[in-house]
Symmetry: C3
Subunit: 306 residues, 3 copies
Amino acid sequence: MLKGRSLIDTMDFSIEEVEEVLELANQIISNPEEFSHLCKGKLLATLFYEPSTRTRLSFEAAMLRLGGEVLGFSEPNSSSVSKGESIADTVKTIGCYADIMAMRHPKEGAPQVAAEHSPVPVINAGDGGHQHPTQTLTDLLTIKAAKGRLSNLTIGLCGDLKFGRTVHSLIKAMSRYENNKFILISPQELKIPEYLKKKLEKEQIYFSEIEKLDEVIGELDILYMTRVQKERFFNEEDYIRLKDSYILDEEKMEKASKDMIVLHPLPRVNEISYEVDNDPRAYYFKQVKYGMYVRMALIAKLLGVK
Amino acid sequence: MLKGRSLIDTMDFSIEEVEEVLELANQIISNPEEFSHLCKGKLLATLFYEPSTRTRLSFEAAMLRLGGEVLGFSEPNSSSVSKGESIADTVKTIGCYADIMAMRHPKEGAPQVAAEHSPVPVINAGDGGHQHPTQTLTDLLTIKAAKGRLSNLTIGLCGDLKFGRTVHSLIKAMSRYENNKFILISPQELKIPEYLKKKLEKEQIYFSEIEKLDEVIGELDILYMTRVQKERFFNEEDYIRLKDSYILDEEKMEKASKDMIVLHPLPRVNEISYEVDNDPRAYYFKQVKYGMYVRMALIAKLLGVK
Amino acid sequence: MLKGRSLIDTMDFSIEEVEEVLELANQIISNPEEFSHLCKGKLLATLFYEPSTRTRLSFEAAMLRLGGEVLGFSEPNSSSVSKGESIADTVKTIGCYADIMAMRHPKEGAPQVAAEHSPVPVINAGDGGHQHPTQTLTDLLTIKAAKGRLSNLTIGLCGDLKFGRTVHSLIKAMSRYENNKFILISPQELKIPEYLKKKLEKEQIYFSEIEKLDEVIGELDILYMTRVQKERFFNEEDYIRLKDSYILDEEKMEKASKDMIVLHPLPRVNEISYEVDNDPRAYYFKQVKYGMYVRMALIAKLLGVK
């Protein structure tokens, strides 16, 4: 039962609950018209304490395409927070206006605090380097749609595996399904954190750590590329030295299976060459569309209208 | 007849006109569904020349819950005003797009100028330290809902009574009803302005000025708490010395009548302890909800759709 | 056939296509109610990489008055562009959410690049000093509505003719209709660019260059006033010396024909005295309203819903 619940971390939902959301998303994809009045009279508040245009617009499009309405703010400057109000008071107030809210916050744990005080469901739209559960749901829906299953997959994750929260969340989420293997492709400096490695070992889930993408690309069902985010680096030199190390181009794509799909949470800088965009295995723009559909399903489920 | 009118100062409306708005707000509260298409096809423009998230969202939620739509800006940076356009020209232009507008402006009198030139109704959503009439209507609706009347009440106003415009407006508005008494609780430095004291004396309305909240709390029907706004102080020291002087906690609440209600225009900093929130006499979050309903009623009345 | 097309430059549309848009705009003006559900379920994204409140609100009001919905951003700060994403990727992403987009960009050519990559129609809402085609459509609709024709007109253009892109676009657009004459009224420093003069000469279209407005005002069917934009000047002195040179007041209006109409793209600073506003020949606020109607027609045509 998802009605009235909040979503802070993908792992808050059981496998069955995730399945329920993905199933509804698939129904919406098949027949969007049928769902275009589902949230009539409902309001979504988007509380973005840091700008994130694509995430905000995905939530807003999702709600509008369900026939609901949207209000909110996209930057902290234009909010009351400067007057020293607590998050608890803000969500108690906005919970008087809106039926559900999506919160983006630079501070880890802020959406959790919000959910504890809010009279309406709160969706975490990203908190610092911590969680971004609707991105993970997007990834799951895309994989399911492309491969027909969430198990028995060899998943390559490439790029910044140290700071990339979407990668950590996806590993955790995919670990819950049977017989998935993870190929972790990154420079030494950007390997996945120790805690995550220990978790995988403890749960006896197969993973390997590799430095070169072209050596393993042929084995993959899914290649998840990530951006080397400048803001995560401690100095400019490291960034410049590493940022181009893991670029996917058509040459590398030739070594990949014809069924492999390429995912990316976007925005990209140059880690996927533009020439790859026209490859039928490039799924990252389809992924954007799935992101909107999965948010539609999630909103509908938390509001209990479906 | 409120159709086509603007609201700049609560006192622009007669007692009967205020009553008309409150009466419609009560009908909306009883059956919001019935009013959810009232403003179909109508547009509200929110012109916020300074950010005020909660006021803006309250207006937007109000319009959206009436089935109308919203457009506007939430900061002066994103507006044309930087190109040197007059307020008169701005509202003549936006009056071509929208059916009604809510204006927040740092300069006193700006909404009045707007109303003089606008082809559509203008609602003052706060102008400097001057007027904020929809806050006053919110207070009146909350008092009426909680106490069943707007007369024969002992009203305590506590905190910054010098700069707090909501306090001044509430005193003026409640002075129009029979036999209300005002207990003004503040430090010497933050007493109500002389002009207001003279007005009360002239109209032979009872008021007393007191320094300590706990000495009078037992006599009150309504306790209106206010924030000690840092930005109103001339120096940091005064702020630090005074800000904690008038904090409402459960200990003080024990001395109050079981029927007393606590109001606050929000946001609060620390002038009401969080422990008070669960007290059934704490009405400040209900007040937020009433704020949305009273704006719904006001918009409907000025548009003449009800 | 305009369905699915983008509008980057007014000249992209044939005379017949412009006529099609103006014709629909006129139908909307006659009976707005009839069109108030035309874009039900459709989303317009407003991508404003620089603020332009009046243009943005005109687009948003247009879409809302067609029963559609709106999402977007009004400043670059609140967008993902700071993360180094290309315009191509941004529009491919936003094209997953929205059915049509309006883009304002400080860089010339950016909307053209957007149109080349977008899966949905792109409307240029102004790119640098380059094109602003919906302003030109607005001007054409206003002239047609006021004069009943787009040919056989004597058109005076006054003020900054060097940097004013709306002037250049209007000259090009009106040159396509038979027997129009242009009277170009400006100081030496702000005459129209050479390339435009050559174009007119080549096409054997009559124009004259004049310094004093009052010497020619009596001959005009249309007087198009423009703002002397401070930001276009290289130094403060030149601005101060020139800005008041071409002010329209009632004294000059007395010399004009009783059928002449005054247009202005707005915002104005002081180039039209307020006293002129009440003159029935002042058409600049009607022009604002026509701007909304022409955008309604354009959106409907590009979406192919009419």
